[in-house]
Amino acid sequence: MTLQPSTVAREGHFDHNAALAACAVGDAAALRRIYEWEAANLVGIAVRILRRRDLAHDVVHDAFVQVWQRAVTFDPARGSGRTWIISLVRHQCFKALRRTSRERALDGVAQAALPDEAADAFSRLAALQEAEALHRCLQLLDRPKREAILLAYVDGLSQSQIAEHRNVPLGTVKAWVRRGLLSLRECLG
């Protein structure tokens, strides 16, 4: 049976924690349920960071194997299952970036698209109910800090890539990110 994860807004609700608990006791159908619900989102996150479909598939594959093997260590008291799964995917992306030499320059087209993406990301956050607090707190930052943080989180850019793209010294980007994070923590709690 070919699974076709939905790409449109999903109806209903999925209990990630319960699915992870089931994976922990060897219930493979639970892993498949997680896949059905999240695979398109997770491949999307990986494609956004890696900008390559083939690598993104490898990363999501490795992440699902980790979900299966580590589900027994997931502790619902310490955070949400969805965040845990997404974090596994993100860290696999960072490993892939290191393997394929992350300091390679972005190509010209990708570079040009970045400022729009960062501004776009911020305005789209406004429309997401779940992002209300994050949007409000990012709004307190000036544009360079806000966009540096979004380029880092959503697009997976390193500080030197952000510096190159903005044509500022690396130290400036470090300061933007640091101050942006301090302000976010104070605002978000």
Binding site: T2, R32, V43, I45, V47, R48, L150, A152, V154
Partner: protein
């Protein structure tokens, strides 16, 4: 070198989540996470703060072959290797046949047996061993808990445990009766697992370990809610 100032550590946690640490720094954070609960909390808090931004990446439907690849990999990872299965079977049979369970120093006997057989995947020797007996059977050694010097916990079932649907096995340890049992993790009923060292706050001779039957996801109240299936005390392994 990890900074000691709490605010600086929190910023390192944030940069770890953003993917801005070098490979060496990220490795250092991952090693620290194994034993530093506060750092773990910082990392988790930043993951939750940023999580809504993960919704900004447009979904990309995966190739149809992706699930099959995952399923193949997971089945390969889940099938106990024949050697491992045979050894667990031999361990259980030896336990009963040799009458080792009769020995007063049961945990020492178990540690001798384990050292002799060399359970697969083990590199370091255990520092403590607890043999958990089934509540309802006389020679009912059901589970072996081994704790390494770095407090990694290895859990090995000696027999099959049939559990009802929507139920899980949860491992607890009791260090201070006044504080009650501490949850260590959920256990698959028929596979050996390793729990990370950060789960076990302390280990000492005589320390009680028990496995209870809990609802799916484990006990939600930080205390056992279900019946105890296996229970035993740790003994130091003679070195």
């Amino acid at each position: 070198m990890m900074p000691r100032d709490p605010q600086e550590r929190d910023l390192i946690a944030a940069e770890y989540v953003l993917g801005h640490l070098s490979e060496e720094q990220a490795d250092e954070v991952e090693r620290a996470l194994a034993s530093d609960a506060d750092l773990g909390e910082c990392v988790r808090a930043w993951e939750e703060r940023f999580l809504p931004a993960s919704l900004l990446a447009a979904p990309v439907p995966p190739d149809g072959s992706l699930w099959q690849r995952i399923e193949n990999a997971v089945q390969a990872a889940s099938t106990p290797r024949p050697v491992a299965r045979a050894r667990i079977g031999w361990l259980a049979a030896s336990w009963r046949n040799l009458g080792l369970w009769r020995l007063a120093t049961a945990a020492l006997a178990a540690s001798l047996l384990i050292t002799m057989l060399g359970l697969p995947g083990r590199v370091s020797r255990p520092a403590f061993v607890a043999v958990l007996q089934a509540r309802d059977a006389p020679d009912g050694a059901g589970w072996i808990i081994q704790v390494d010097e770095d407090r990694t916990v290895h859990s090995t079932p000696l027999r099959r445990t049939d559990i009802e649907a929507q139920r899980v096995l949860q491992l607890w340890t009791l260090m201070d009766p006044a504080k009650g049992p501490v949850a260590l993790g959920l256990l698959p009923p028929s596979a050996a697992v390793r729990l990370p060292a950060e789960r076990l706050p302390a280990i000492g001779a005589g320390q009680l370990f028990e496995i209870t039957l809990e609802p799916a996801g484990g006990s939600q109240i930080g205390r056992p809610t279900g019946r105890i299936l296996y229970i035993g005390r740790a003994a130091a392994v003679a070195s």
